[in-house]
Symmetry: D2
Subunit: 116 residues, 4 copies
């Protein structure tokens, strides 16, 4: 991940793109790339999705869209001075409190719908 | 990153949530979390965003939303058998071809608008 | 629709909110409201969605989110000087050319995948 | 609007596309079209947006994306048995209660941040 962060920032700085990387436009970009990631799944049933993903070219396209989201997350984390991996560990710890194993096990209800 | 992947999958498996993690719903979730990440920037000018992000609680909220996106990306990569960091390196290499430094330097145009 | 447009603009102008209605933030808002509309369908199979929508309160929540998107579309159309209903008629005519009945009938393929 | 609804449903039924129009995929589609509407505003400052929108072809592209969202809203409303314009009037009435003119006038705060 450290190598990836270095590569993302080097790519940006070689092109002098740091000046465009304000938090609002980066958040917009993440949203738009997330939409592109969702796009191939639209109008498809789960069996059609399995067929779609069985082809290497399609799985690579999906991997590319996931990569775009990650690259933008890394860029936004740099601009905001956030350690992304640390933030994810902290969020997991918070989620563990909100969704205790005993109540959450095997059910998809949102935490505020779980009985106490 | 390896530790994060392990932690994300352990969190999921302790709750037996793998069964819900189909690619389409994961892609939807990434889209929705990306929208939550964008939400605090809405209706704000850049000076208002600077003030907003100067407060620790707000920056932590933004970090939380970024963490949600990353956790879901890690979950989706696992389901699809994709190495997320490798995919991001491959995408950066592709972007480097699409946006050569000489033409892209200091301008925000999309690659298909760049002169050759 | 004319009554709705009048009501949307009167609501906005009574609150002096025209000043905030720049096209970029309106487009962001439409995106965020569309995400809220998608939210209740996440993690649900089609039978669970049928159950969900059988309850009046849930259907009203969905109607509310659809209303939010429409209200923002009307606001954005006003700011840009676009006749929304006319634009939709024009787009339908364009779609009719892109998806001729003979090829499109009963299949969900995108128009650029249709044989000629 | 009644004419538009008739035209949207006729377009759909001539192509036998009602079978694909489940609420979840329609909500996904609205989300994706909203992202396409946001796309041209990304990375642009307000003066660049004004220049962009001054060109007729760009304004027509934006109008097209808005039309796509409206057409999908109309399709989804039909599937759910919702009167879209009535829902928007009801939502405006609710918003009027949440954002009283006296407190909301000239400020962009969300209703839950308004003093009482």
């Amino acid at each position: 991940m450290d190598d990836l962060i270095k590569a993302v920032l080097a790519f940006r700085d070689e092109r002098d793109w740091r000046q465009f990387h304000n938090p609002k436009d980066l958040a917009i970009s993440i949203c738009l790339e997330a939409a592109e990631l969702l796009e191939p799944f639209q109008w498809k049933r789960s069996d059609e999705i399995a067929d779609f993903l069985a082809e290497g070219a399609n799985r690579r396209r999906v991997a590319d869209e996931m990569a775009d989201v990650l690259i933008l997350l890394v860029s936004m984390a740099d601009v905001l001075g956030i350690d992304l991996v640390e933030a994810a560990h902290a969020k997991l710890a918070e989620n563990a409190r909100k969704y205790p194993v005993a109540q959450a096990r095997g059910n998809a209800k949102k935490y505020d719908e779980l009985g106490s």
